[in-house]
Amino acid sequence: MVPLLTIRNLRTCFETTWGTVWALAGIDLEVEKGETLGVVGESGCGKTVLALSILRLVPRPAGRIVAGEIVFDGVDLLGLDEEAMRTLRGREISMIFQEPMNSLNPVFTVGDQIAEVLTLHRRMGAREAGEMTVELLARVGIPDARKRVRDYPHQLSGGQRQRVMIAMALACRPRLLLADEPTTALDVTVQAQILALLENLQEETGTAVVLITHDLGVVAQTARRVAVMYAGQIVEEGPVEAIFSRPMHPYTIGLLSSIPPVDRLPGKDERLKGIGGTVPTYFSADLKGCRFLERCPWADEGCRDFPLALSPCGDGHYVRCRRAP
């Protein structure tokens, strides 16, 4: 089967006062039709820049996509002009963000904002778009939708705003949804509702979802495949069961051992194994070796000099580490 989205050697950099920062240092990734791919990593690993690069929304002039291919449904997005990208965004690929308050316009009603998507992309008339908006709001679980369309964003709770964002993002039944930390700003009980809603809608529309999050629990509960990012690279990728039960990369292993256990009683003196050190923020462009080197318990001299590729280790599982078993 031809994947819906294929990313090859994607490199995005930002010019900063301290020099060029490679936010994405060669990303290779595929997303199948209708699947959920979890992208996990900590702050600064490049996971948000990855989503922005796919939509060609990397903030300019500081940031730019330097190299690579983003092939969506047979078309390289990096070769499209701005006009073509505009028709694609929101219709074929949409995105939801972490903080719904910052992504909704405070001076328009939520109904107007959803209807705008429908009139722009689906060429609906005002009346039809209005009806459809009510239907969409009801579909994402907002009670009394006919009244709520006239609300402004500040009149809704955080969970409801995120429901509005989801309604807007799925209004055109896009084939790909990029969800960047969609539940991070929400309470845990609301998070559970929103994740369930996303899953139901996905089954209904067949939309593929790239779920970007720092929360390994959320990934374990929702994704079919997982890509672990560190310092602008994918360090491990594979089926969700493999990543959690047989993690191969020392960073993935460290991340998993950093989470407090939720399903058993921890001992009074129990410690979390975790990972020492902090994420380095700057890498030179000619860096060949492993980016996790400084924090790695397995590292040796050889890790510094050899270019590292994402290598297969069985059953669709890939790891970028020369010391992995």
Binding site: P143, S157, L216, E241, F244, S258, P260, L272, T278
Partner: protein, 326 residues
């Protein structure tokens, strides 16, 4: 009640009066705390868990005496902290310290690490400069800050390092209780693990008690001896760590535990428990006898009439719910 109770909170109430928007004349009354009772023993960690708006931060701020309660009392070693004289209050401030959530907002950007950690010593009258220096170095070692950071400013540090500075500042006066309000929520998971380990080490080394406030059930479970679950200004359930997670009784506690995403794909939850949360209401149920009524799958007639009281279901396990027999 245990003899060695360090902190006792009794029937604490805090009411905030706010206007819903700057032009509205109508005032809205928010009961941030509505009769909260709990205690912390010497050297113990009590975890306070709940979602936004449950009052957990207000509780911490009142215990740290950054806020005055509307009613109720807080006893520290048996004495009411709101009837302290000036001198006694100063002594209390040495004993009880607070660590905040956001290490970016809680450090003075114009003060060096050394200056930040030293300030409490100056305020509390440690006159000898060499002595202050010695104690600053001592806590820096204890929290794992290298000595060469002494003259550096907050912007030069990562979130994890900043939180270490905040902890060092709290520790330098050798308190017996630290109120930790979401101390790791702003940190990445690998850094969070480092700080949690550090807090456990410090507790053992300095026999500290923690009032550990967090929305993260995993973190609370990892840190706490006892856990208090709050919902809209009320304590709904309190028990030992082991007991609470093994036998959660209150429907809200169950909903909360059910909602936590387990980092194990083999334990995937299908659909979350039926939850009729009308999230359009900012404070659902704030006026009903049981605050949880509107979301409760087990509600009965009596829940609409009478407010549930705290019952001890097994020794040390308290639940406020009509459905749970005492």
């Amino acid at each position: 009640m245990e003899a060695s109770s360090l902190l006792e909170v009794r029937d604490l109430e805090k009411v905030f009066t706010v206007t819903s928007n700057p032009f509205a004349a109508k005032k809205v009354v928010i009961r941030a705390l509505d009769g909260v009772t709990m205690e912390v023993a010497e050297g113990e960690t009590v975890g306070v868990v709940g979602e936004s708006g449950c009052g957990k931060t207000t509780l911490g701020r009142i215990v740290a005496r950054l806020e005055e309660p509307t009613a109720g009392e807080v006893l520290f070693r048996g004495r009411d902290i709101f009837s302290f004289t000036k001198e006694e209050l100063k002594a209390y401030r040495r004993e009880v310290q607070i660590v905040f959530q956001d290490p970016f907002a809680s450090l003075n950007p114009r003060r060096t690490t050394g200056g930040t950690i030293e300030e409490p010593l100056i305020v509390h009258g440690v006159k000898d400069r060499a002595e202050r220096r010695r104690r600053v170095m001592e806590v820096m070692d204890a929290v794992g800050l290298p000595r060469d950071v002494l003259d550096r400013y907050p912007h030069e540090f990562s979130g994890g390092q900043r939180q270490r500075i905040c902890i060092a500042r709290a520790l330098v006066l050798q308190p017996s209780l630290i109120v930790a309000d979401e101390p790791v929520s702003a940190l990445d998971v690998s850094i969070q693990a480092q700080i949690l380990n550090l807090m456990k080490d410090l507790q053992r080394a300095f026999s500290l008690a923690y009032l550990f406030i967090s929305h993260d059930i995993g973190v609370v479970r990892f840190m706490s001896d006892r856990v208090v679950v709050m919902y809209l200004g009320k304590v709904v359930e309190a028990a030992s760590n082991e007991e609470l997670f093994a036998r959660p009784c209150h429907p809200y506690t169950r909903l909360l535990l059910e909602a936590v995403p387990v980092p194990d794909p083999r334990k995937r939850k299908k659909t979350p428990m039926a939850d009729t949360y009308p999230s359009s209401e900012p404070l659902p149920g704030a006026d009903t006898p049981c605050r949880f009524l509107s979301r409760c799958p087990l509600r009965m007639d009596i829940c609409r009439r009478d407010e549930p009281t705290m019952n001890e279901v097994t020794p040390g396990h308290f639940v406020a719910c009509h459905r749970v027999p005492s």
